[in-house]
């Protein structure tokens, strides 16, 4: 347990991503129409959310933050249903086409705004998103905040302001220790997200009905609200751009298929072609 009088404050950064298992919104050329695609909470963020909620046992107040178009509020409802105390949606057209550096800047400014009058003790991110797959925003944000980072974090403990975390590395793990504040990016081998709480679900119903309660719990902010420099956001603040895309070639047609026959026959034919027992 912590021995602090004022509560801990944890922040979890989450993102709404296209649901790639759904065929909806996938154009014939392989691109995704984000407006039509089914949306979901980034799967890695489920683990980050669980990690942030775990800090409640140390008395933490948990704030969920997302950046995205207005429908991204859906994942904030989801976070609240799981037990998050407050939520912030950064939504601004000037954020369009932000790369990871610009995104980290905007989230940094949001975090500063969110932690006004509060401490900033722990920041949780998913290891990466499934639409960008970069794993860059977490470390970029930690650099902006000037705090240590523990990436690839699988589990952690908190005692007297000291974080002890297990970090997954190639062929093993590191046990790392640092004082808060710190930023952790959580792997998909971490503790799974618990079920939504009854209280959380009721809260969301109430929020969806009552605008006043909603505005108390979910803050929707623009770049102006958080004092972010628009020149450092969106396309202007992004040092990289996607210059071209090309479809990944299908190799197609070269696969020798065994089908429609008895299993023993197919296996025998395969072994005749590929002498696996010599491997």
């Amino acid at each position: 347990m912590t021995d602090r009088l004022c509560p801990l404050h944890s922040y979890v950064l989450i993102k709404q991503v296209p649901d790639q298992s759904s065929k909806a919104g996938v154009n014939p050329d392989g691109t995704i129409d984000r407006a039509k695609a089914k949306r979901m909470l980034n799967p890695f963020d489920r683990y980050a959310l669980q990690a942030a909620l775990q800090t409640k046992q140390y008395g933490a107040v948990v704030t969920a933050i997302t950046m995205g178009p207005p429908p991204a509020i859906e994942i904030l409802y989801e976070a609240i249903a799981h037990g998050v105390d407050r939520a912030i949606l950064l939504s601004d057209r000037r954020l369009a086409a932000s790369d990871t550096l610009a995104t980290a800047y905007a989230l940094y400014k949001t975090l500063l705004w969110a932690s006004q009058g509060r401490s900033l003790d722990l920041v949780f991110c998913g290891l990466q998103t499934t639409d960008g797959d970069t794993a860059q925003v977490g470390p970029q944000l930690a650099e902006r905040l000037g705090i240590p980072q523990i990436t690839y974090c699988e589990s952690f403990d908190l005692a007297h302001g000291t974080i002890t975390a297990k970090r997954v590395i190639e062929g093993g793990v590191q046990i790392l220790q640092t004082q808060i504040p710190a930023l952790l990016t959580i792997t998909n081998s971490a503790q799974r997200l618990a079920y939504k709480t009854l209280r959380g679900a009721q809260r969301v119903q109430q929020l969806q009905r009552d605008e006043q309660t909603r505005s108390q719990m979910i803050h929707t902010v623009t770049l102006d609200d958080i004092g972010a420099d628009p020149e450092r956001c969106g396309i202007k603040g992004s040092p990289t751009i996607v210059a071209a895309t090309e479809k990944i070639g299908e190799i197609g047609g070269s696969c020798q298929m065994f089908q429609g026959k008895a299993v023993s026959v197919m296996v025998s034919e395969l072994l005749h072609q590929v002498p696996l027992t010599n491997s």
Binding site: D133, T151, G171, G172, T240, V242, K247
Partner: protein, 354 residues
């Protein structure tokens, strides 16, 4: 003055990682196109002897930061070495490459944010070329640029390869997937410059301490060095299915068990087994994919395998578009049959030999 291409030469416990030599291979091609120096940054403790190896593998110059506090990778001390070295240069390198390892993906974005420069993750191909840009929303960036780094990576859910550029500011940074680039053949007569660096860590760099490092060497060695990999996917339907996968893998002397992201996400097997864009890249002699649909995410991690055998009950699964052999059937019937027939042929083979 000659431009510079930098690569971060990763070592673990004094052993140079394959990615360091792969980055030199990619860096050599870029440096030749730019007529630039290829320089490696080597950070660790008691690692000076590795500098010559980097030179043999085509580095023109190696900067060595050798210090007890750098023995194991930690973000902030390694960041300090890079930041200090960069601040001593009259102008920044053209390009810096890191491996897409847990180290590279931890350090590179931290450094890119410090430098406020662009970074492209997990590249599978790199090149140098011109670029013309015009954007009505941002006139200041428009223009024709020469000698840009093309950082090429798969863009997921979109079955596309994206070419990412950031020619407005140097260094242009990228992380590169291990196992994709080819190292050059070593030239043991090659000479180069080795420059030792003064290491000046600040108190704030020591904020994170390593309590313990546990290396589970077996599992790592198995996936990257196995000649045969048997992988299970979501089509297994349940975690128990991996027992069958292990049984099949056990039929081969040098084998390992792999998994698709969906199977790992479902909690059926640990992340250490994951093959694909967010897992490991493997190129075994034989890759047997069981109940794996073959999404692009998985494909980029294994499609360089010599022989790919797919077992899937859905004949329209994408895996059959790039596998070499495919059995359409229920893996719970096919795998036991395969194990049985292999055992039979092994036994009869042994009898013949005897």
């Amino acid at each position: 003055m000659k431009r510079r291409i930098w690569i971060f030469a990763e070592q673990v416990e004094g052993e140079l990682q394959a990615i360091a030599l792969e980055l030199l291979g990619a860096g050599r091609m870029l440096a030749d196109k730019l007529e630039a120096h290829l320089e490696a940054i080597l950070v660790g403790h008691n690692i000076s002897h590795l500098a010559q190896t980097l030179i043999h593998y085509s580095a023109d110059c190696v900067y060595v930061a050798d210090h007890p506090e750098l023995a194991q990778y930690r973000t902030l001390p390694y960041r300090r070495v890079m930041v200090d070295l960069l601040s001593q240069l009259p102008e920044p390198p053209h390009t810096i490459l890191f491996g897409s390892t847990t180290t590279g993906r931890d350090l590179a974005p931290r450094l890119a944010a410090y430098l406020e420069t662009g970074l492209t993750a997990d590249c599978t191909s790199l090149d140098i070329g011109p670029f013309e840009y015009s954007n009505s929303k941002d006139q200041s960036k428009s223009g024709v640029f020469h000698d840009c780094l093309y950082a090429i990576r798969p863009s997921f859910g979109e079955s596309l390869k994206a070419r990412i550029l950031g020619p407005w500011k140097n260094p242009q940074m990228a992380t590169v997937r291990p196992g994709v680039m080819q190292a050059v053949a070593p030239d043991y007569s090659r000479t180069g410059t080795v420059i030792p660096l003064a290491v000046n860590l600040q108190e704030s760099d020591r904020q994170v301490q390593i309590q313990e490092i546990v290396r589970n060497v077996t599992s790592q060695v198995q996936l990257s060095k196995a000649e045969v990999i048997v992988s299970g996917g979501y089509g297994l339907g349940a975690p128990d299915g991996f027992q069958l996968i292990k049984d099949l893998a056990a039929c081969f002397p040098n084998s390992a068990v792999g998994a698709s992201r969906k199977a790992v996400d479902a909690g059926w097997i640990s992340y250490a087994h994951q093959v694909g864009q967010t897992g490991k890249t493997v190129r075994p002699k034989i890759y047997i994919a069981c109940g794996i649909s073959g999404a692009i995410q998985h494909r980029v991690g294994m499609d360089k395998s010599n022989t790919i055998i797919a077992i899937n009950k859905d004949s329209s699964a994408p895996i059959f578009r790039f596998a070499h052999y495919g059995i359409v059937g229920d893996l719970y019937q096919v795998i036991p049959e395969l194990i049985q027939q292999m055992r039979y042929s092994l036994n009869s083979g042994n009898r013949q030999a005897a």
